[in-house]
Symmetry: C2
Subunit: 226 residues, 2 copies
């Protein structure tokens, strides 16, 4: 019963299960498995057999891919409410990416098989899922465009503003090590250091301790060009 209760919490969190009637929510909850992953542990690794959709109930996970040339690239940061594995729900493949928990994390799992059944039964779930994927495509397109046309400084400034907005405060610890942040922004830790110092010097932010940051001038940050 406790399990079912936790699963319902999971289900309610996630956009793709919104707007369902209570009956369906309960049905979904029965299909969903819950799992805890501690900081530093892997949610899944490249090469794992991929047969489940993963839904973030709580925590933060970094998804990385290593390229042919051996370089590691941070593909994505999963936050509460995000889901991953969509691309894999309809074909039988191995995971191309690895996912490491950055904080203690709670996830919900639903198998390919169950999810496909669900879609056939509930058009609402299908439409929500299409919606979510559509948004994700838009975001990725925007991100791809930004990556090609903007400087590291712009991307970093933008990241700070976004993070601040997500955390709902302008005074926060960076959720990522600079190493990982560098991967995420497609740059090097050294450059991140330098850019942050630059922002400090020009008064846009204040830094304290290892990775505490306070934004002083959000409008200014959004206009950074280098």
């Amino acid at each position: 019963m406790l399990e079912h209760h936790d699963a319902i919490a999971c289900v309610k969190l996630v956009p793709i299960f919104q707007q369902l009637d209570h009956e369906t929510v309960s049905a979904v909850a029965d299909l969903v498995q819950e799992r805890h992953v501690k900081k530093g542990e892997f949610v899944f690794m490249a090469g794992d057999h991929a047969d489940s959709l993963i839904i973030m109930a709580h925590g933060q996970v970094k998804v990385t891919q290593s390229s042919a040339s051996g370089r590691e690239q941070l593909i994505r940061l999963l936050q509460t409410g995000d889901f991953d594995g969509e691309s894999v729900l309809f074909e039988d493949t191995e995971r191309q990416t690895s996912a490491e928990a950055l904080t203690d994390t709670q996830i919900c799992l639903i198998t390919r098989e169950d999810f496909q059944k669900l879609i056939k039964q509930s058009p609402t779930v299908a439409i929500n899922m299409l919606n979510a994927l559509g948004k994700r495509v838009s975001e990725l397109e925007a991100q791809a465009a930004a990556t090609l046309t903007t400087s590291v400084g712009e991307r970093l400034a933008n990241y700070l503003v976004e993070t601040s907005s997500e955390l709902d405060t302008d005074d926060f610890d960076l959720p990522l090590q600079k190493k990982d942040l560098a991967l995420y922004l497609g740059t090097s830790p050294e450059t991140i250091s330098r850019k942050l110092k630059q922002f400090s010097t020009s008064g846009l932010i204040s830094q304290r301790g290892r990775n505490h940051i306070k934004l002083n001038d959000i409008d200014g940050l959004m206009m950074v060009e280098n």
Copy 2:
């Protein structure tokens, strides 16, 4: 009746309408509108009201977005079989992007309303669409990663190989002006010129006339590093 016939051709072309029974195909075809767009004309422009999914029956279309800073970015190249507008099918918004036909083009349109009905009636369509979107997400993630970690030379070489494979010949005209190709690869026309020259000099390709290219050493191209 001719119209219906053309629409069926359209429907049969597109992955998301695959594996449907004849009855459903015919039903879909009734919902689909056909349209021709001449080279240089716009399929849609930023600011247009977006209420239709666009399916490429034939031709090539470039989708661009201008950023806040006024720079134009080539978001995507639509080829036969691709579709666009998915992100917009479930919410009522304006188009953020513009789409210009690079060749004479034939497209099929289906309205948001009709498409949503379709999904509710046919789980197969829903699943195909989820599949297609999932693949697209994967591609975009891979592309984003590649953009951040690879040099212009690598991206250009990769583009040449892909294009060759799509056109099914190693001896072809570049479908894009170098200006547009530069936008697509996130570089400048000058750099494209230079890199192509470099490839020529090292015997990887041959150039003829304004934009005719022959690939001499595909394996070599795939190993380009700069």
